[in-house]
C-alpha cells in the first residue's frame, strides 16, 4: 500500500523530488510520514496472485491527509485501510503544501 500512496502522489505531479522547487521544501529533509493507520485483513493473498492497490483521498486538512486504500484480487477485497499522512519539513510537522492539497481536494468524493 506504500507503493500505492507513492505512485498516487507521483501521478498527481507531486513527485517528492519535484517539491524541492516549492518554498515549503527549502531546507533539507522534507517528507510525508504516516501518522496512523487502521487496517482490516479480510482475506489472504497467495504467491502469484495479481493484486490491485486502490488509493483515494477521503479527507484533506491543513496538517494531514486521510487516504483510503484497498487491496483487491479481482472482485475480492483482501485488505482495507485508512491511512493518515502528515508533512514534515526541517524535522517538524508543517502544513500540507497548497499544491498537494488542491490536487487531492479535486478528487475528494463527498
Amino acid at each position: 500500500m506504500e507503493r500505492g500512496r507513492t505512485n498516487h502522489l507521483r501521478l498527481m505531479g507531486a513527485e517528492q523530488q519535484a517539491l524541492f522547487e516549492q518554498p515549503e521544501t527549502e531546507g533539507a529533509g522534507f517528507a510525508f510520514v504516516v501518522r496512523s493507520m487502521h487496517l482490516d485483513f479480510l482475506r489472504p493473498a497467495r504467491m502469484d496472485d495479481v493484486l490491485d492497490i486502490v488509493t483515494w483521498p477521503v479527507a484533506v486538512k491543513g496538517a494531514s491527509i486521510m487516504l483510503a486504500q484497498e487491496v483487491r484480487r479481482g472482485e475480492d477485497v483482501l485488505v482495507k485501510a485508512e491511512v493518515r499522512v502528515a508533512f514534515i519539513s526541517g524535522g517538524r510537522a508543517q502544513p500540507i503544501p497548497k499544491s498537494i492539497r488542491r490536487l487531492m481536494k479535486a478528487d475528494l468524493i463527498s
Partner: protein
C-alpha cells in the same frame, strides 16, 4: 533456554528489547513506519512463546482438537507518535486487552525509555483447518491469568 532473547512476562505484560539497525531506517533517517509492525510481530510471537505455546501440554490439546493451527492478524489500529532513529534501544510491550471465544485483542507499545513512540491495537484470530476456531482454553486461561 533462550533467556532474555524472547523478553519476559511480568504482571501480565510481555516486554522485549529491540535495537534499531541501519536496515530499519529510511531515506529520512528514521525507522520506516512498517518496521514497527515487524517489531511488534516479534513481541506477539514471543509473548505467545513464553505463555507456553510450544510446551507439550498446549500442543497436545491443540493438535488433538485443532490440527494445523495458526494465529492470523485480523485488524490493526496503529498510531505513530514519535520517530525512532539509528541505534535506539526500544522496548516492545504486549498486553492482552480482551480474550474472547474466537479472537484476542492485544495492546502493544514501542517505547524508547520514557518516550512512547508507537501504540497499536491488534486483533488476532485463531485458524485451524483453514477456518476460524475458538481460542484453545489452555491459551485463554494463560492470557487471563498471566
Amino acid at each position: 533456554m533462550t533467556g532474555s532473547l524472547d523478553g519476559e512476562i511480568r504482571d501480565g505484560r510481555h516486554q522485549m528489547r529491540v535495537r534499531v539497525y541501519f536496515e530499519d531506517t529510511d531515506s529520512g533517517q528514521i525507522v520506516y513506519h512498517a518496521n514497527f509492525l515487524r517489531f511488534m510481530e516479534r513481541g506477539r510471537t514471543n509473548y505467545l512463546r513464553l505463555l507456553g505455546m510450544n510446551q507439550q501440554e498446549f500442543l497436545k490439546e491443540a493438535r488433538g482438537d485443532v490440527p494445523g493451527f495458526a494465529f492470523v492478524v485480523r485488524s490493526m489500529t496503529i498510531d505513530f507518535l514519535k520517530p525512532a532513529i539509528l541505534d535506539d534501544l526500544l522496548e516492545v510491550i504486549t498486553v492482552p486487552e480482551d480474550v474472547r471465544g474466537a479472537s484476542i485483542m492485544l495492546l502493544q507499545e514501542c517505547r524508547r525509555g520514557d518516550d512512547l513512540l508507537v501504540t497499536a491495537r491488534v486483533r488476532l484470530a485463531f485458524i485451524s483447518g483453514g477456518k476460524a476456531q475458538r481460542i484453545p482454553k489452555a491459551l485463554r486461561l494463560a492470557m487471563e491469568g498471566a
